[in-house]
Every structure is written in C-alpha cells, then in structure tokens.
C-alpha cells in the first residue's frame, strides 16, 4: 500500500451526526404540527386536540371496519360490539371545537405539509438535474406556468381535476421552454438558466394578467386573484386527499432515484461514463418534480421561495448527498410552510396570503445564503 500522498492541503473533517439531526428535524416538524392545531382564533389546548384527533381517527377506523365487514353482519356485530367501548362518540365533544380541529385545521395543516414538501422536493430535484443551485420551481417558471394553466382552467369554468391537469401542462411547458432557451444561449449555464426561467415566468405572468383582464369580474376575477396570492385557507379534505395521492406518487420516483440524482449532478458526460441513462433519468425526475409543483400550485396558488431556500438549508444541515437531501427537504419543507402558514393566519385579524409571507421570510434568508456562499469560494 502506498504512503499517503503528501499534498499541501490535508484537511479532513468529522462528519456531523446526521442521524441526530434527522431526529431533531422530525421532532421540530411534529412540534410545528402540534402548535398549528393549538393556535388560531380559537386557542384549543393540546390535550383536547390530541383527544379529538384520536377520536376522529378511531371513528374513521370504526367506519372502515364496519364497511369492510358489512357483507358479514354476524362478524360485524361481534367485532364492533367488542370495540365500541374504546370509542368516544363525536357528541362527547364541543361540536365547534371538534369542527375547528377536524374540518378546518386538519385539512389546512395537511395541505401546508404537502405543499411545502412538494415545493422543496421539486426545488431540490430541479437544482440537481440542472446542476444549478439557483433554480427552483418559481425561478424556472414552473410555478408561473402552472399558475397560468390553473387560471385558464378557472377562466374556462373547469373545476377539480382539470385545474390540476392544466396546471401540470402549463408547468411542464414552462420548464421545457426555459430549458431549451437556456441551452440555446451562450454564456454561463447557471446564469442563462435563471434568465431563461425569468423570461418564461414573466411571459406566463403576463398571460395570467391577460386572463384576469378578460375574466368575469364578479366571480372568476376574485377567485383567480386571491388564489394567485397563495393561500391555504380554502383547502378542504377532498383537495388534500386528491393532492396527497398525486404528490406521494410524484415524490416516490424522486425519492427512489435519489442516489442516481447524485451522479447526474456531476454532468452529462461523467454520469454517462458511469453507466447512467442520463436522458431517461433527467426526464423522469423533471416530469415528477413538475407534476408535484403543479399539484401544489393548484391547491395553494403560487407560493414562492420555499423551493429555493429549503434545499439550501438541507445542504447546510445534511450535506450534499441526495440520499439525505430528499428526505430532509420533505420534512423541512412541510414543517417550514406549516410554520409560515401559522403566522399567515394569526399575525393579523385578517389572513395574510402565505405567498407574501414566504417572500418576506425567504428573500432575506436567501440573500444571507448567497453572501455566505460568496465568502466560501
């Protein structure tokens, strides 16, 4: 075995305890969830929240069991009869309190977690696929494209699924155009990608403005305007379940391919030389990232900065390996957006659109990160 090579810089560092950091991150996210149930116009103490959630969960389980066993009435009766003493019926709770927790706060909390996780994961994925730490769903124009698609669907009075499908199509077109334009321009790839994204984003924002101009002023315009500012206030359990399924399906490939994403961040040639099918991998990851961005946009409107800032924070805490960044982005993104949403609904008597708050929080943080990055290199 040769002697260690004597280079001038011999630096090694002790790796941080990533496991501990993950545990702390998860605890922080759980704390955010708890706080979110407690705060609001009604303050509900944590014990009541837990009991209400438990009883809602149990009654859901109860419902499922009775549904599954319904073809066998005899078994159903015995099982339910055996289980019933463990359930506290809904009537035992103050109905208003129950309704606030289960019908209002629960869907909103789930929506915040989903949207935050989706935007951060998409941001981390885009940054890796384009080898560019300065891109994110909003900077690439994906959010603006998805926003335009969704507005178009609202303008055409299409509801539900169609809003999401239009948002997805708009987002995908935006990312593709930004990518192609940046490849055709000369100069620094990092910069031209950002500029192409700004270009595409402003085209789609202009198109959205045009839709606002021609939209029906009594119904469509307020809906579009309020929705564009970004808000989780309108999230219902139905939205959350629908969005949740797609976001999980879209995040899963990114989660499973996260080792290969590391290799692709080294660049096209190096990844190919290591046997990675670069075109297929990049295609799958970009489509999935755009899909989850579009779904997030279609339930919450355009919420900026999360997809840019959270992946950077994840790298500061968990290093550059996508095996850690993706799970960290999911947890941190969800927790962060939930926390910001808590401020959005409690900071003033009227609700502040969350998109405005994320910009106020995200922009200074990002400026700080840029300055720190500048010092390092």
């Amino acid at each position: 075995m040769p002697e260690p090579v004597e280079f001038l810089t011999v630096r090694n560092r002790k790796l941080p305890n990533y496991k501990l950091r993950f545990i702390l991150l998860i605890l922080a996210a759980v704390a955010c969830i708890m706080i979110s149930f407690v705060v609001g116009r009604f303050t509900i103490c944590i014990g009541d929240v837990l009991q209400i959630l438990m009883s809602a969960l149990l009654s859901a389980v109860y419902g499922c069991i009775s549904f599954v066993l319904s073809p066998f009435p005899a078994i159903q009766n015995t099982v339910l009869g055996f289980l019933s003493p463990f359930f506290v019926s809904v009537e035992a709770w103050d109905y208003a309190m129950y309704s606030v927790v289960v019908n209002i706060r629960l869907p909103r909390i789930l929506a915040a977690l989903l949207v935050g996780a989706a935007l951060s994961t998409a941001g981390a994925a885009y940054q890796g696929m384009f080898q560019n730490p300065l891109v994110s769903p909003d900077i690439l124009g994906a959010s603006a494209g998805a926003g335009f698609g969704a507005c178009l669907a609202i303008y055409l009075s299409l509801g539900g699924w169609m809003v999401t499908i239009f948002a997805f199509a708009g987002g995908l077109i935006a990312v593709l155009v930004a990518y192609v334009v940046s490849r055709l321009t000369k100069g620094s790839a990092t910069l031209s990608m950002v500029l192409a994204g700004i270009l595409v984003g402003s085209l789609f924002s202009a198109s959205t403005s045009y839709i606002k101009l021609v939209a029906d002023t009594t119904e469509q315009l307020p809906e579009i305007t309020y929705w564009l500012m970004g808000s989780l206030a309108g999230a219902t359990m139905k939205d959350v379940i629908f969005a949740g399924i797609i976001i999980i399906l879209g995040t899963l490939p990114i989660f499973l391919l996260r080792w290969r994403m590391n290799v692709l961040t080294l660049g096209e040639d190096e990844a190919k030389s290591m046997g990675v099918n670069t075109n297929r991998l990049r295609f799958v990851v970009i489509v999935c990232a755009t899909l989850i961005t579009a779904v997030a946009v279609s339930i919450s409107g355009i919420i900026g900065w999360v997809g840019l800032v959270i992946p950077h924070f994840c790298r500061m805490l968990f290093g550059y390996d996508y095996r850690r960044i993706i799970p960290a982005a999911i947890i941190m993104g969800g927790g962060f957006l939930l926390l910001v949403d808590d401020f959005a609904r409690t900071i003033a008597t009227t609700e502040v659109p969350i998109g405005i708050l994320t910009a106020f929080v995200g922009a200074p943080i990002f400026a700080y990160l840029l300055m720190m990055g500048g010092k390092r290199s």
Binding site: V10, R13, Q131, P133, W259, R260, M274, G275, N277, Y320
Partner: protein, 267 residues
Amino acid sequence: MNLCVNDLSFSYGKHLPLVLDDVSFSVKEGDLLAVLGPNGVGKSTMFRCILGFLRNYSGEILLNGVNIKTLTHKQIAKQVAYIPQSTHPVFNYSVLDVVLMGVTNQLSLLSAPNQKHIDMASAAMDSLGISHLRNAGYGEISGGERQLTLIARALVQKAKVLIMDEPTANLDYGNQFRVMCRISDLAKEGYIIILSTHNPDHAFLYANRVLMIQGGKVIADGCPDDVLDAKLIKDVYNVDVHIEEFQSETRHHKLCIPKNGGVGKSE
C-alpha cells in the same frame, strides 16, 4: 483485454471539416498511452468516441473484439472509465461520496451503495493514498487530490480501460508527478491507460506508447524514446527543442529542453 480503434473519422457536421481523420491504434493490458498534440486537435473528441458519448463516427472501436456501437452506456461503463479534468464541482460532495458514485453501474436502478461498496471505495482510496480525505469536501481539496479522487472512482467502477483527459492540467509542479506516478503504477497492475497530455516529458517519463495527433491524423505512434524527436516537436508545436539523454541510478531518461527559451527566431 485490448482496445482497437480502426479508421476512426469524425466531424461535428456534414459540411464541417473532419476532426478525426482515419485514426487507428490499438492498446493492450499494461499499456500507458500518452496522446500528444496541440489544443483543439481532436484528442477530446477521440476520447468521447471511445467512451460512447459520440456515436456518428465512421470506422470502428473494438473492445475485446466487440464493436462499442452495439453496447449501451451501462455496458461500456463496465469496461471503460472516464477521468475528466477535475473541475470545481457544483455541489460539494464528500470525497467518499464522489468515489462511491463509481459503483452506480453495479447497482440496480433504485438501490444505493451499501457497506460492501463503501469497503470497495475505502480500498480504492487506500491504494491511491487519499483515505485521509474520506470526509473532506471534494470542492475544498487541491486539484491533485481531486484528480486522485476521480481515479479512485474509476477504480471502483471496475473498468479496465481508463481514459484520462489531461490528468495533470491545472496541477502544481509536485502534484503533476505524484498523480502521474500513481497512474503509471496502475498501468503496471494491468490497467489500460489512455491519457492526453501537453508535456512530452511526461510521455518520456511514464508512457510506454505515444500517439502524436495533428489535424485529426496520427502522425507518430510508438515508444516515446523512439518516436518523440526534435523534428516532430518542431513540426507539431513549432518550438525548437533539444532532446537530452541522461542516465540516473535506475534508468535511462530522455528530456525535452527548449532552445532559446522556447520560441527563438527560427534559424
């Protein structure tokens, strides 16, 4: 194990001039082939063809007799590894992570490296003397250390042909020799090494084969001591040199020394 390149010609467009014009050579186990030639002469293009990045060339490239056009990137990667010029990375992975990326080829689509792969990476880092950099940031180590990291990654890839694009570019004087020494050790272990360089002395010191390319054509091929002479270097680089010989304790050396500081008036 051998690599044969037969009549390789390539141009970047139908009406553009040929970048590679009928290049032929073959290398076998234990060879360290230094590819010399001025900038923009087609060295990198030739590497890109051998690695399978460019496929619309004419002629054939045979790996153990198999035409690489019939192989996928994954199959080529099992036999040929690429060691690019070490540039500053976009993301500052740890050295261990960078080395581990070499095992990707041996993993199924959705899996990640396990302890066995980490042990392989550690062994490769040991053999190149960089295990002390295991957790250091790849973006924070020196150019020479980065180059060795990339070589360790190629070893982990288990390919027997190593293609190196100017492994000593951007390295300081000492690091150039440290990196070249390790590379020549690998050739002795049975790897096939093809590297491009701008320094004829490196060819004299470490290579057993040299390929001089000019205008896309091979103009000299053989043992460095035999084919590298003052006339060839004058023809290719337009620099007047003396080729000096001297005998050290261990071996006979040739060295290239520029006349009149290199670019004197032509006599």
